[in-house]
């Protein structure tokens, strides 16, 4: 399942896109995130996968540094530690 966490508002699209079929639930991205955006949880079909925390969903655009320019400056971020290319951002 591909899940788009986030929203579109007047200023643009802010989605963290997670492809749960590829996620093996290792949790490396959760540890890598400096903003505590992600967590592991069981989805509706019984798999343990990464997701965006509820409190963050409606403000991902502010909380998540995004890859440009915020987190891209760090060598380590959720995307760089993931071995299966699960996470992407729209902004």
């Amino acid at each position: 399942m591909i899940v788009n966490y986030g929203y579109t508002d007047g200023s643009g699209d802010y989605y963290i896109v997670i492809d749960t079929d590829k996620c093996d639930g290792c949790g490396k991205c959760v540890d890598a995130c400096p903003q505590n955006v992600l967590e592991l949880a069981e989805d509706d079909y019984g798999d343990i996968v990464v997701r965006v925390r509820d409190e963050v969903k409606s403000k991902v655009g502010y909380v998540c540094l995004g890859f440009n320019p915020g987190c891209s400056k760090n060598e380590v971020n959720c995307r760089s530690v993931c071995e299966h290319d699960v996470i992407s951002h729209t902004w």
């Binding site: 399942m1 591909i2 788009n4 929203y7 579109t8 508002d9 007047g10 699209d13 509706d44 409606s58």
Partner: protein, 268 residues
């Protein structure tokens, strides 16, 4: 085997009772301040309609915004998954679901068994939800139920270019001042909301068949504009409100079977 699906939304609560994949009865009640009470009330009504008692229910799945507070639920499942499952039950050919509510908008893609393959939801910005229509109906001083019909009288769309509901409201006010007919303004308003909704649909990808559910499905103006953009006529269910509860009941049935299976293998 009798199971229940309970959907607690922000405006209404629904319960669907199901026996072996057939709907026995359902009920719709308005949401009160207390979600637990709403769930009980909806379920009691559904039980009355089916003339069975609470003890006959073997498994209950709760869904919707208030799902975590339903005291008698065996499990809770997100409204996205339940919506897809319910839509698949009603229309097995459906692959794309657009649910337009008063406060949010969801685009869901599912496969042939109603499993979600891709979804996106917007509940943060009023511009892509029913609230946009509320705001504009108020500015134009027309009842919300009528704006769809009125917009169809327009010969052209007035231009509403702002993506933000607040800025769009100022645009509408100045269009009114300029003497633009209300029908044209409304048509422009519907075009604006359809653009947002279509972008959400494109995010998940559009595949036939396509269904629209939720309160805004009653606004013919918006539905037409969305249909034009998608290039497909949407199916519209008669009872769009209980789609989520149906899905929850189907999950309940599946989970109940699994639980029984486990018990059996344990006792053997």
């Amino acid at each position: 085997m009798i199971v229940a699906g309970v959907d607690i939304g922000s405006l209404s609560g629904e319960t669907v009772l199901m026996r072996d994949g057939e709907i026995l009865s359902y009920s719709i009640v308005r949401t009160g301040a207390d979600s637990a009470k709403t769930a009980e009330k909806a379920t009691d009504e559904a039980l009355d309609n089916a003339s069975i008692s609470f003890g006959d229910i073997e498994y209950t799945v709760a869904t919707g915004y208030g799902r975590v507070i339903v005291p008698f639920a065996d499990k809770n499942i997100t409204e996205i998954s339940c919506h897809a499952r319910g839509a698949n039950y009603l229309f097995p050919t459906v692959r794309t679901i657009l649910d337009m509510g008063g406060q949010d908008c969801k685009a869901i893609k599912c496969n042939d068994v109603g499993k979600v393959t891709n979804f996106a939801m917007n509940d943060k910005c009023a511009a892509g939800t029913g609230r946009f229509c509320d705001v504009m109906a108020e500015v134009l001083d027309e009842p919300l139920e009528d704006i769809g019909r009125i917009s169809l009288e327009a010969e052209r769309d007035a231009m509403v270019s702002s993506a933000c509901a607040v800025f769009a409201k100022s645009e509408v006010v100045s269009l009114l001042r300029k003497g633009t007919p209300k029908s044209e303004i409304l048509s422009g308003v519907h075009e604006a909301i359809a653009t947002r909704v279509f972008a959400l649909l494109q995010r998940v990808g559009i595949e036939a068949d396509f269904v629209i559910t939720g309160g805004i499905a009653k606004n013919i103006g918006v539905v037409r504009k969305v249909a034009e953009k998608v290039g497909m006529n949407p199916l519209i269910s008669d009872e769009p409100q209980i789609v989520g509860a149906i899905g929850a009941a189907l999950f309940a049935e599946e989970l109940c079977k699994k639980a029984k299976h486990k018990d059996r293998s344990k006792s053997q």
